[in-house]
Amino acid sequence: MMGPEAFSRLVDEHSAALILYARQWCAAPEDVVQEAFLKLVGQRKSPEHPVAWLYRVVRNGAISAVRSAQRRRRHEEAAGGRTPAWFVPSEAGSLDEQAASAALRELPLELREIIVAHLWGGLTFEQIGPLVGCSSSTAHRRYLEGLLALREKLEKPCPSQPPIRS
């Protein structure tokens, strides 16, 4: 069983990225991530790679949550129409976070989840392959494909706001 220090460090370091990962599917990613952490504590034997294990549990939980709450989510989206921010606003970065969020949202899910798991989750392609159900080389190829698509979207001139800051 995992110790309290290791567990709190895991929460501090990976909860935000896990929420971003779960947000690719469901509208309430915090609940899914919290349940995943509690499942990790309930494991009698700690998994060999807890971060990869957490991403798999979050992915499964988010997919089942979106299936069970599909009708409600559709209703909420139709009523509200607002989407939560994915990244913390920052002036220091060279990339606008809203533009990056918008470009990411337009990507297909199979490309987007690999980019999120690798860039912000820190998973290797050997870990991403079993997670998304493909080989590591396929995961790498999809990652590059997603980056190319993102670059095309971000380089596209925006009339209101330039996507890339100088």
Partner: protein, 173 residues
């Protein structure tokens, strides 16, 4: 597999994207750690439900065995009793002639034989009384020989006196 990106423009984009910090979300860290502590403190949460289920199964099986137990079949037993019809059946059993002459008087064997003979006689008379009543019993030898008991006068060498009356209280006033 190489994790690096071959295209330098893609590598730059990758670096810019990874610099973005995801929104931490609305996870209450303290509540999460508290619930994690609760979850980790219940490692044997399955113990009592499992025990309860097991005992319910055992109780159900025992109850079913008690309810479906086969009823024992009563066994009828006929006892035939032969009733004597002739008077010969009333004849007393012949006395056991113990060969007392061949044994030394006062020996252990003689005492044992006397004891057995007395027991046999007692059993025979008891069976006779149970079957035919007390009237069917023969006259008691003790009563028959009561008149021949030695008297006090005879034992002292005095002439014997005849009883004047047979009352219970022979008092003279």
């Amino acid at each position: 597999m190489s994790e690096s990106t071959p295209d330098p423009k893609l590598a730059e984009l990758e670096k810019s994207l990874s610099a973005l910090v995801p929104v931490p979300g609305r996870i209450d860290r303290d509540q999460l750690l508290f619930r994690a502590g609760q979850a980790s403190a219940r490692p044997f949460v399955w113990l009592w439900p499992t025990t309860t289920g097991l005992l319910v199964v055992v109780a159900t099986v025992l109850g079913a065995a008690l309810a479906l137990r086969p009823v024992p079949i009563p066994v009828g037993k006929v006892v035939y009793v032969t009733i004597p019809q002739s008077a010969a059946d009333f004849a007393p059993m012949p006395q056991v002639d113990s060969s007392a002459s061949s044994r030394r008087p006062g020996s252990a064997a003689e005492l044992d034989d006397d004891l057995w003979a007395g027991s046999a006689e007692y059993l025979r008379q008891r069976n006779q009384a149970i079957r035919w009543g007390v009237d069917a019993l023969p006259a008691s030898p003790s009563m028959a020989s009561a008149s021949r008991l030695p008297t006090l006068e005879g034992m002292l060498g005095l002439p014997e006196k005849k009883p004047e009356h047979l009352g219970l209280f022979p008092l003279k006033f």
